[in-house]
């Protein structure tokens, strides 16, 4: 009877240790997979947020360029599809129009970016190029930094806008 009791106790302890080991190994293995999937999800989310911000910044540059041209030429609010020939001629008649437009566009873009910034994102602007030949093309260097506890991504790219004359 004494022997039976010890054997049962030993089997019970062994069974406990074995079951705990198997289940814990299974859980650790599963958690590792889930952690990897979660990291992928966070990276995807960071990329998506940067891509959405790129779309908004591209649109902001277009509106900033139109608004700057209208401010520079003191025109009443005009179209956002194209600028009139009169506005275009008035603009290019001044020799320093590129420098002036540069300042105005950067001012407008800074106002937009302050409002567009989201949690964990920082927007930085580089050089702005203005090319004008029968219209106006603006190219702005932008860098977006996404910095959270889990993901740290930086994307540098150029945003372009083209203004047609109509």
């Amino acid at each position: 009877m004494k022997g039976t009791g010890v054997e049962v106790a030993a089997i019970a302890i062994l069974a406990t240790v074995m079951v705990t080991g198997i289940v814990m190994a299974n859980l650790v293995y599963r958690i590792k997979d889930v952690m990897m999937s979660s990291e992928e999800s966070f990276i995807l989310e960071a990329i998506n947020r940067i891509e959405l911000l790129k779309l908004s910044l591209t649109q902001s540059l277009l509106y900033s360029t139109y608004n700057s041209i209208y401010r520079y030429t003191n025109s009443a609010d005009g179209s956002y599809d194209c600028i009139s020939n009169k506005v275009y001629k008035e603009m290019i008649s001044k020799s320093d129009y590129k420098e002036e437009l540069d300042n105005l566009i950067m001012e407008e873009m800074s106002a937009y970016s302050e409002k567009l910034e989201m949690e964990n994102t920082t927007i930085k602007f580089g050089k702005l190029k203005i090319e004008g030949d029968g219209g106006l093309e603006t190219i702005l260097e932008i860098s977006i930094l996404f910095d959270s506890n889990l993901v740290d991504l930086e994307d540098k790219f150029d945003v372009k806008s083209k203004i047609e004359v109509c």
Partner: protein
């Protein structure tokens, strides 16, 4: 005799502890598994809503980007048929959705109330304002 009784009691206690441990481990792993699957599904659908928003805003209608059409609708009241334009685009990747700007609904699926999977983006308007565009998908 007393020793034997003691061993038998100890054995029973150990067996009960073993069974209790097995139940706790199995039940906790089952709940943990369900919880992790829910998190993954949520994250996947959340990312899908973001991808849906990216594809919607990048697409064009009559050579104009949808992001521009929404901005001009909001700023100048253009595009009376905006619901039709947006419905044509969104229904290609979702049949249960709702798209709104600030608190105004721009397009919504007819017979379905979308769930909790939300993507947001701030879109610029020509007048210098910025508004939040929200896509909810099921």
């Amino acid at each position: 005799m007393g020793m034997n009784k003691g061993f038998i009691i100890l054995s029973f206690i150990l067996i009960i502890i073993t069974i209790a441990l097995i139940i706790v481990i199995v039940v906790s792993s089952f709940f943990l598994r369900i919880h992790l699957v829910e998190i993954l599904e949520y994250e996947q659908r959340y990312n899908n809503a973001q991808l849906g928003l990216i594809s919607l805003l990048s697409s064009t209608h009559e050579n104009k980007k949808i992001i521009e059409i929404i901005a001009e609708y909001e700023a100048f009241g253009r595009y009376d048929n905006i619901e039709e334009i947006l419905t044509n685009k969104i229904s290609k990747f979702s049949n249960c959705y709702s798209l709104s700007i600030q608190d105004k609904t721009l397009a919504k699926s007819a017979e379905c109330e979308p769930g909790m999977y939300v993507a947001r983006v701030k879109i610029p308007l020509p007048n210098g304002e910025v508004k939040i565009l929200r896509l909810v998908m099921e």
